[in-house]
Symmetry: C2
Amino acid sequence: MLTPLFLNLARHDFVSDEEKAILVEAMSHRKEFAVGQDIVSVGSRPTYSSVLLAGFAARYKLLADGGRQITALHIPGDFVDLHAFLLKTMDHGIVALSPCQVAYAEHSDLKEITEKAPHLTRLLWLDTLIDGAIHREWIVAMGRRAKKSHLAHLICELFVRLEAVNLTNGMTFHFPISQAEMADALGLSVVHMNRVIQGLRREGLISWVNQSVSILDWKKLQELAEFDQTYLSMKREPR
Amino acid sequence: MLTPLFLNLARHDFVSDEEKAILVEAMSHRKEFAVGQDIVSVGSRPTYSSVLLAGFAARYKLLADGGRQITALHIPGDFVDLHAFLLKTMDHGIVALSPCQVAYAEHSDLKEITEKAPHLTRLLWLDTLIDGAIHREWIVAMGRRAKKSHLAHLICELFVRLEAVNLTNGMTFHFPISQAEMADALGLSVVHMNRVIQGLRREGLISWVNQSVSILDWKKLQELAEFDQTYLSMKREPR
DNA sequence: CGTTCTTTTGATGAGAATCAATTCCTGTGG
DNA sequence: CCACAGGAATTGATTCTCATCAAAAGAACG
C-alpha cells in the first residue's frame, strides 16, 4: 500500500483516482533495508526513485575528516531520492536510520508520467520543491538560530510532518533516532547535542525517552523555535 | 535577450530551438530593481516567476531578533523564484544585492509549458533541483566545515557558476557583495567574517578588492574547501 | 567635504568542541 | 534469571571558536 505517499501528496492538492492508479502502477516494486544500510549510495546513478513506506531515513554527506552532515530526515510518505530522476548522479548518500520499507518506480516510468500526466508531474515536482523549502529552513536554523531554538524547530517540523501521515499519537511520536544522529543533523558534537536536549527538557517543553518524543508545551516550543509552518505547504490548493 | 538563462540551461542538457522559442515567448516581460529592493516579498503569492538577467540577488529570511540569513545567492541566468510556481506562497524574500534586471513569465504560461512541453518542463524542474543540491551543500558547509573552508567552498561554487554564464575573466570575477551580506550567507558576525576573509588572503588563496575576487591558487582553494562540483550537475546529458 | 557605509582592529565573554570517564540500557549467552 | 558486552546517554574539565562591544580607518557619495 502506498498510503503514506497518498496522505503526503494529498496534503498539498487533490489527487485523482486516476493519478493514484498511475502511481500504484509505477511504484509496484518493494524493498527492505536494515538499520545503517544505504538506501542509495553516494556517486551512484540510480535508475529508479524510492518512496519511504515505513521507517526513518536520512540524506547525508561525509567529509574527509570522517565527519558526517545529515541534510534531510525522511519519514514515511517521503520521496527520498526523486531528485535523482533528473540530477542523475547522487551527490550524497541516503541511509536507513531504522528498518525501512520502500516502494520504487523506474525512471523510465517517471519520464512517462512527465509526458502524459502534467498535473501529477507538478505534484511530484512540488514534492521536491518542499524538500528545498525544508533545506532553506535548515540553513536558517543552522546559521542564525540558537542551538536550542534549532532543535525546537526541528521537533516542530517533524511533528507536523508526522501528523500529516498519521504517525503521531496526541502530542507524542515514535522517534528511533539517536542523539549522535541528531548531532549530525544539527551540526553539533554529541556532547553538546545532549546538553541542548536537556535544556528543552529542563524547561518542560519536551520529553524524550525510549525513542518516544512528546511535546509538553506546543505553544512555547513554537515560540522558542519561531516556527511558522508555511514552508511545508500544508494547504490543499490547485497546483 | 535571455542569453544567461540559455547558457545556464544548456550546461545540463541540449535545449532545442523550439524550446528556446517557447521560453522567449513566455518570458517577454522585463523589470528592473535597485539595490536593496525586494524582487519578491515574503508572504506574497506571485503570479509570475523571474529569471535574473543581470545583477546579484539573494533569498533570505528574517528572524525576530532582526537577524537575517541568506539561503541562496543568485547570479545571471538563475530562476530566482521558479519554486513559487508550485509553492504558491513565498516563505522568504528575494532581494537585489546589486542593480538587477529580470525577465519573467506568468505562472499560467509555465503551467502551459508543463502541459505541452515535457522535456522543457523537466529542464525547469531540474533547475529547481539544482537549487536544492546547492542548499544541501550549504547545509554541509554550515554544519561541519571550518568557517574558512566554508568561505572557500562558496567562492569555488560561485566561480564555477559564474564561469558557466561567461561572467568570469580568467580566475577573476566581479562580486558586488559586502562582507556584511556574506556574513548573513555564512551565518557569521561581520567581524568574524572579516577575519575569515583575511585568513584566505593571508594564505595567498584569494584576493578580494574593489568588488573583484580573484582566485590565486585554485588547487589549494578547492582542497581546503573539499570542493567537488558534482552537485552543480554541470554535465550535458539527456534529462 | 562632511556623511554614511564598509572594512578593519582590539578586548572580552559566551558558546561549543574536545578529552576523559561514568552511568544507563538492551540484547545475548550461560 | 543473571552476568556481560557494546552502544547510548550523561557528566565534568579544559580549550578554542566566535559573538559582542567599542572604536578607528578607509572608501563612496551627494
